[in-house]
């Protein structure tokens, strides 16, 4: 096979700041039933000049968005303690706060340090002490890591705030093609940067398991092809250029193989590409549509969508036996599965009574639960800690991102101020 190693430098600079209008905002539409009341007191700024970010409000926002916490309003706080000596438990008990987080931010040349302490108000005890440090330009990430530590201490589940999102932003251009941008932001929608842009369709942004590369489908040559791009350098490589479909890239958990959909041999089937040798292996061979491969976390099998039974349903392909079995039976349309890191929950697009929702299937109990009440929901992506599902939906005639807790309780929307936003992909945990 002809090697297709056309390494291209992205026309777009690797890290080019997107204008502020592209930024997502957060609107919490529904919290959990019994959220934990927590007071996040403004952190003391002990550095020189102006603090680069308001750390406490970022932590506060993260915890609120999870739906599992109800932060106390700052206006209600009776004091602003920043050290343990300044903490008066009765002040916080009177506000029904269950927990209290205080902290201090200091700066050395080029390094920001955030010290924090978490108190259990009812037990009147300090339950967590820690610090985060890094370049001042990464102040928001430090705040997300503090939120991760607090979240893990209080829920027993690692936080996933210090992660990134990929999504496609689209502007309609009257009389011409839509303008599509592949955008990366923090998990709260802040700091969006454009990784690639084109006036041709862009689809299926996906992360490598180490979070350092992305892959996606671009029609920039006039035909669909799969591209791999290094985030730090912006260097791009066209992985496929077959006739027909080149779509649905999905990295294996070990990062060595990419599952994809090609139709070069007739119609849409699932293939594996060895990323070192570019050697292809055809997995499915069926006259029906086989698409949307998703790896199980153990790397031994893949889920995919097929209409071999007449309507799209989720199937599983076992790599060692080569056998395929059907996974979903409930509903007339189940597609685009994504699996939680523990391998137990499968989120998917599920059609019920004509409407498209996001549903989660528990592979142990075989119970299907519909998570969303909106319509035309698509592209579910699960947080690396399995807590939330990000997806795209229609809201006031525009395509927006929204999120729902895996238990269906908490919900929030991330509307952009302009254009359509779709195909979110939540990053894996990122190395520091």
């Amino acid at each position: 096979m002809k090697r297709l190693l056309t390494a291209l430098m992205s026309i777009t600079l690797a890290i080019s700041a997107a204008s502020a209008w592209a930024q997502l905002t957060i609107e919490i539409s529904q919290g959990a039933d019994n959220p934990t009341a927590i007071a996040v007191v403004p952190f003391a700024w002990q550095g020189v000049g102006v603090a680069p970010e308001e750390i406490a409000s970022i932590v506060d926002g993260d915890l609120a968005r999870s739906g599992q916490f109800a932060p106390i309003a700052r206006a209600d706080m009776l004091g602003n303690p920043t050290t343990e000596a300044e903490v008066f438990y009765r002040d916080w008990r009177s506000l029904s706060a269950e927990y209290l987080l205080i902290g201090r931010v200091s700066s050395e040349p080029n390094v920001l340090r955030v010290d924090y302490e978490l108190f259990d108000v009812l037990r009147q005890a300090k339950v967590l002490t820690g610090y985060e440090s890094g370049p001042a330009s990464d102040a928001r990430m430090l705040a997300h890591r503090v939120a991760d530590a607090v979240y893990e201490k209080l829920t027993g589940v690692p936080g996933a705030f210090a992660t990134k999102l990929l999504y496609i932003s689209v502007d309609r251009v009257p009389g011409s093609n839509d303008y599509s941008r592949l955008t990366m932001s923090d998990s709260d929608g802040a700091r969006p940067i454009v990784l690639f842009d084109t006036h041709e369709p862009l689809l299926t942004p996906t992360w490598s398991p180490d979070g350092k590369h992305i892959a996606y489908v671009s029609f920039e040559t006039g035909r669909p092809a799969i591209y791999r791009q290094e985030i730090a350098t912006g260097q791009r490589e066209q992985l496929t250029n077959f006739s027909g479909l080149n779509s649905s890239p999905a990295w294996s958990p070990d990062g060595k193989t990419m599952a994809m959909v090609l139709s070069k041999d007739g119609n849409a089937d699932i293939y594996l590409m060895d990323l070192a040798t570019k050697k292809l292996t055809q997995l499915t061979r069926h006259y029906a549509i086989d698409t949307e491969p998703a790896w199980m976390p153990d790397g031994r099998s893949l889920l995919f969508t097929s209409d071999r039974g007449g309507k799209p349903q989720i199937y599983r392909y076992d790599l060692s036996s080569g056998k395929t079995d059907r996974v979903t039976y409930e509903g007339t349309y189940n597609a685009r599965a994504r699996v939680s890191q523990d391998g137990r929950s499968v989120v998917m697009v599920h059609q019920a009574e004509g409407r498209f929702h996001i549903a989660v299937l528990d592979l142990v109990t075989n119970r299907m639960q519909i998570l969303t009440s909106t319509d035309l929901d698509e592209s579910p992506s699960i947080a690396p800690n399995g807590s939330m599902v990000l997806y795209a939906t229609k809201y006031q005639d525009r395509s927006i991102l929204a999120a729902v807790a895996v238990d269906g309780e908490a919900k929030f929307r991330l509307p952009a101020s302009k254009g359509d936003v779709r195909e979110p992909a939540w990053s894996p945990y990122l190395a520091r």
Binding site: P312, A335, D397
Partner: protein
């Protein structure tokens, strides 16, 4: 047969023009030359009109096919989540095929879907639609080498709104002459 008749008439006209020059019997060289030029011009114009008569017959036929194809349209519509050709799509497709059987134009078939369902599934569905049209064209005698297909799935809607009125406009294959 019609074309042969037209062509033989042209040859006859040419022959008589040449004969006219030969039998002119003029007195001066100038007159001879003028007569020869006039005869040549007459011959040329006779040939031209004969050619255009032949062309007119062909282009009238092609124009009729083109008109039929144009009125049938180059967009073929589909049912939801289906790549099967509907009777309406077949009528429009047949009108286009009748024209393509008579010319050597290459075509590009662009498959599209409505916004319902997932994007990647819709890419495959759009390809299935383009392939349905392609296979029917090949079965009707259009060589596969003249047909290129591509699917845009739901990425290139004609109508941006939701609801069946918009969705039905978007479930289509567009035939584009290359």
């Amino acid at each position: 047969m019609k074309h042969i008749t037209v062509a033989s008439k042209a040859i006859a006209l040419l022959f008589s023009a040449a004969l006219l020059v030969a039998c002119s019997g003029s007195d001066t060289k100038e007159e001879d030359e003028a007569a020869a030029a006039a005869a040549a011009a007459a011959a040329a114009s006779a040939a031209q009109s004969a050619q255009s008569a032949q062309g007119a017959a062909v282009s009238a036929e092609m124009a009729a096919l083109e008109e039929a194809a144009a009125s049938a349209g180059t967009v073929f519509y589909f049912e939801y989540d289906s790549a099967n050709l509907t009777p309406e799509a077949l009528d429009a497709l047949n009108a286009n095929i009748a024209l393509l059987q008579r010319n050597n134009t290459n075509v590009r078939l662009e498959g599209h879907t409505d916004e319902r369902g997932t994007r990647e599934y819709n890419l495959a569905l759009g390809e299935g639609r383009a392939n349905s049209v392609r296979e029917y064209m090949i079965a009707s005698g259009i060589p596969g080498s003249r047909i290129e297909t591509i699917s845009f799935g739901e990425e290139r809607p004609i109508a941006y709104g939701t609801g069946e009125a918009n969705w039905s406009d978007n479930r289509r294959v567009e035939l584009k002459l290359q």
